[in-house]
């Protein structure tokens, strides 16, 4: 059974399982969450008073940049108020009755998390979210099912991504999931369809009949009455005389529907502009931004359930760029450092340098590479080689002693040209790195020197 153990460093408590050393950290208040201490936790149990606080906690847990921490199993206590609306964001509802089930679940998630390379960092934020989402689905053996949510901008939320992105960003959740589907990581099954505001993509729309002339929704609707005898036809109001119906044209009383009169249709009249019409224009007022949409303007979203494909499981386990590694490796001619040194020596040994020869080196800040998993580092290394080789001639030589160091020899280039080439290479490599990890000061340093007899700049 679980048992409560006081957490040594804070006011929060830790649940431990007696036979196995599973460490469940209990969090009672928003302030208690100490992300760093999660390193040793196997799971979290949220036991706040309100669902609002619980929601805030799950958001900060799932959006942690450290994927190990972001994917941790989180349970919610059954004592949290109004938990129905947020329970889909948790791995289970903790109560005395569910302890055993949750324990099994916790173990299952833990073992699946252990299968994964969840240290892999992605090159951009959305891809990183996608990777995490796939890993979440894999570790929970879960399908991303839409959950009706009154507060989501599109009226539906999804587990995990819905916890990370704000409710106003529900459209982006769908975007990410749709990418996962088009890339073949998931399959999509349509569940619902929702219409959205043309202006702000909000799904909260108030549909109502409006005057086609002035757009007002202040309408009066009346039945038409046809008096058979005299062929008079007018709104019911025209016939009303105290409790009876009397024909304004022939003054006869209308007694019997079907014999004296009938109601062949009805008319709307606008109270604002007094236009009469039968076909009211249905318009959709956006509750979020107030834009009054014509129905034809509305966007439409397909709300689906997304299930991992075997390919998606591979991605979850090994990272998004596995396949690309294979495709980008070809056609880049690099040589070993020894060969490069050989070429260099040869060149220096010439008594007179007829042509201008340059030696270049690119150094990547070592801290940058530590952000990436080893597989990822290799990919980046190859990408950097690709960038450099683009600006080299056929006879030029490129070598990469390690992932942070690139050396090359360039023959037959004017000083102005080589300077230009150097700055282009620096720009492109910096761009590659900042695209992946965000702004970084001087991510790459390029140095180019003229090969001179006797002087070695590298």
């Amino acid at each position: 059974m679980f048992e409560l153990i006081q957490h040594p460093n804070s006011s929060s408590k830790t649940l431990s399982f007696d036979n196995e050393s599973l460490n469940v950290v209990v969090i009672n208040r928003v302030g208690e969450l100490d992300v760093d201490s999660l390193q040793n936790a196997d799971a979290l149990l949220i036991q706040t008073t309100t669902s609002h606080d619980a929601n805030e906690l799950i958001r900060s847990i799932r959006s942690n940049r450290n994927r190990l921490k972001a994917l941790i199993p989180v349970f919610i206590s059954s004592t949290v108020s109004n938990l129905q609306s947020i329970r889909y964001q948790f791995d289970g509802v903790f109560s005395d009755d569910t302890k055993e089930i949750l324990l099994q679940r916790l173990k299952a998630i833990k073992s699946r998390l252990a299968e994964m390379n969840y240290e892999i960092h992605q090159l951009d934020y959305h891809q990183s979210l996608l990777q995490s989402a796939l890993q979440f689905a894999y570790s929970r053996e879960q399908v991303f099912e839409p959950v009706r949510n009154r507060f989501s901008k599109i009226g539906f939320s999804y587990p995990f991504l819905g916890a990370i992105l704000k409710e106003e960003e529900a459209n982006r959740v769908l975007e990410i999931l749709n990418i996962s589907c088009t890339e073949g990581y998931t399959t999509k099954k349509a569940i619902e369809k929702t219409h959205t505001c043309k202006k702000c993509s909000g799904g909260y729309l108030n549909y109502r009949e409006c005057c086609p002339k002035c757009g007002s929704s202040d309408l009066k609707t009346e039945d038409l009455i046809h008096h058979f005898l005299c062929a008079h036809i007018a709104p019911e109001q025209d016939y009303k005389k105290e409790d009876t119906l009397e024909c304004p044209k022939c003054d006869k009383e209308l007694r019997h529907i079907g014999i004296d009169y009938d109601k062949p249709s009805s008319m709307h009249t606008c109270n604002d502009c007094s236009h009469s019409f039968q076909q009211a224009e249905v318009k959709a007022l956006c509750i979020d931004c107030g834009h009054d949409n014509e129905l034809s303007q509305l966007g439409s979203l397909e709300i689906g359930a997304y299930e991992l494909t075997p390919h998606g499981e591979q991605i979850a386990k090994f990272g998004l760029h596995i396949q690309k590694t294979e495709t980008t490796s070809k056609e880049i001619h690099t040589v070993s450092v020894q060969i490069l040194e050989l070429f260099k020596k040869q060149e220096l040994s010439r008594e007179q340098l007829e042509k201008q020869c340059w030696e270049g080196s690119v150094r990547i800040h070592p801290e940058i590479m530590s952000h990436f998993h080893i597989e990822q580092q290799e990919i980046i290394q190859k990408e950097i080689c690709t960038i450099i080789s683009k600006y080299l001639g056929k006879a030029d030589v490129l070598s990469s002693p390690n992932t942070t160091w690139y050396r090359f020899l360039v023959y037959d280039k004017s000083p102005e040209n080589i300077e230009k080439t150097g700055s282009i290479i620096q720009n492109n490599i910096s761009k590659l790195i900042t695209d992946g990890i965000g702004e970084y000061e001087h991510p790459a340093e390029v140095l180019i020197t003229k090969l001179d007899n006797g002087v070695d700049h590298v």
Partner: protein, 436 residues
């Protein structure tokens, strides 16, 4: 020389003398010749005399009209007319007068009409499209349009008509001639006059009875039918008389009601609308039976009060209806008397009488055509009809007369019009019970 050229039967009448001619052809001389030749040409002459001041009057009224630029409500009631609606909106978009609203009432159509109408309304080509799920008959559909019309003048059209570019302007302008004009009838011509013999003959008939006939009756102040296909009304008068009553023949009926209110009815020959006439005699027969029955039902029965002296008695109303009833109903009976007269008293001379009678009518038709061509603005097209004129004797003299007689008989003795499916039975039942 003449004796050699003239056929024997003509020669015969020269020999027997004018008195006998009058005795034998009294029907022709008394009714047809006087009414359709003498009166027509006298009025043509008078109109020719006043043509200058007429033009001035028109220009003045036209200026007043365009200065005021009143909203005109064009109302089109009908059933299963969807197919015509788009063309109609196009035709109206070409009008010289554009300050109008277009109101279409779909009287329980069971085809695509509601879809077409709603689409045209959404596109803004129709201002108001009102759909009645349950059919109520043409009168109720027109009344519904009237209920929602906002214009200073109401123009009632049929959906399958098309219009000269100045038709709307011309049909409204006469209201500026005279305060007392309560309704203006437009000129209806046959568009498909080339389709078949049936439509060609109707085209000539329309020219005679509508284009020329109504100029004459309008001039005499006894014009009594504003066609449903194209007529203009003052809404305040329509409101006063409660709009249209149950048909068939509701256009004639409403004209009489307006006359009874003390208003004049004006015919405007230059406000021209083209309509498709039935191209088969079978369809035409059905249509005419319906029209002819309505003469008995409305002019003889419903509005019989105009024939008797009472507080609102009015001679021109009396003559308007009397002329109509006389030339249709009474002369129809008279024709039978005439036939009997000839068959019994002149049995031996029939070989001279029949061809001569035929000749007289053909010659009269040509002379009448002359007056038509004096008035018309489509002289070139209408000249093409001349070759059909000899057949008109058979068409009006025999075919139409036969249809008419049948209709009168059925309506007079059996009130047949109340069974007409043209009206929903719920309305006919009521109309019959109350003798409307």
């Amino acid at each position: 020389m003449f004796e050699q050229l003239a056929p024997e039967y003509v020669e015969y009448w020269f020999v027997v003398g004018f008195n006998k001619f009058l005795r034998v052809f009294w029907y022709f001389c008394l009714f047809e010749f006087t009414r359709y030749i003498i009166i027509d040409y006298i009025i043509v002459f008078f109109k020719w005399l006043t043509r200058k001041s007429d033009d001035e009057q028109f220009e003045q009224a036209r200026r007043a009209f365009f200065l005021e630029n009143p909203l005109v409500s064009i109302i089109i009631p009908g059933k299963n007319e969807g197919a015509h609606l788009f063309k109609l909106t196009k035709s109206l978009a070409e009008q010289t007068y554009q300050n109008f609203e277009l109101i279409i009432v779909d009287d329980g159509s069971d085809d695509e009409t509601p879809i077409i109408g709603k689409n045209l309304e959404r596109l803004g080509l129709i201002d108001m499209f009102i759909r009645n799920e349950i059919r109520g008959g043409k009168a109720s559909a027109a009344n519904l349009a009237l209920r929602y019309a906002k214009g200073k003048y109401i123009v009632h059209l049929d959906a399958d008509c098309s219009f000269d570019r100045d038709a709307i302007e011309r049909v409204v302008i006469p209201f500026y001639y005279d305060e007392k004009i309560g309704a203006v009838g437009g000129n209806v011509k046959v568009r498909n006059y080339n389709d078949s013999l049936c439509t060609s003959l109707q085209a000539i008939e329309y020219l005679k009875t509508v284009s020329v006939g109504r100029i004459i009756t309008s001039y005499l102040g006894i014009y009594k039918i504003v066609s449903g296909a194209f007529g203009a009304f003052k809404p305040e008068i329509l409101d006063r008389i409660g709009g249209w009553d149950i048909g068939p023949g509701l256009d004639g009926d409403i004209t009489v009601k307006i006359r009874k209110c003390g208003y004049k009815i004006h015919f405007e020959p230059k406000a021209i609308c083209l309509t498709n006439a039935p191209s088969k005699f079978k369809v035409l027969t059905k249509q005419r039976l319906r029209w002819d029955k309505s003469i008995i039902r409305f002019r003889v029965r419903k509005h019989r009060d105009v024939y008797f002296p009472h507080a609102n008695f009015n001679w021109s109303n009396f003559f308007a209806l009397f002329e109509n009833v006389f030339y249709n109903v009474i002369l129809d009976l008279m024709w039978i008397l005439y036939m009997i007269d000839i068959l019994f008293n002149y049995t031996s001379s029939l070989q001279y009488i029949i061809p001569m009678n035929f000749t007289l009518y053909v010659v009269m038709s040509y002379v009448q055509m002359g007056s038509i061509l004096l008035f018309t603005e489509r002289r070139k097209e209408e000249m093409k009809l001349i070759k059909f004129i000899p057949l008109m004797t058979i068409y009006t003299g025999i075919y139409l007369r036969l249809v008419r007689t049948t209709a009168y008989y059925k309506e007079f003795f059996f009130k047949h019009s109340y069974e007409d499916v043209w009206n929903p039975s719920k309305s006919s039942t009521m109309a019959k019970r109350y003798g409307l």
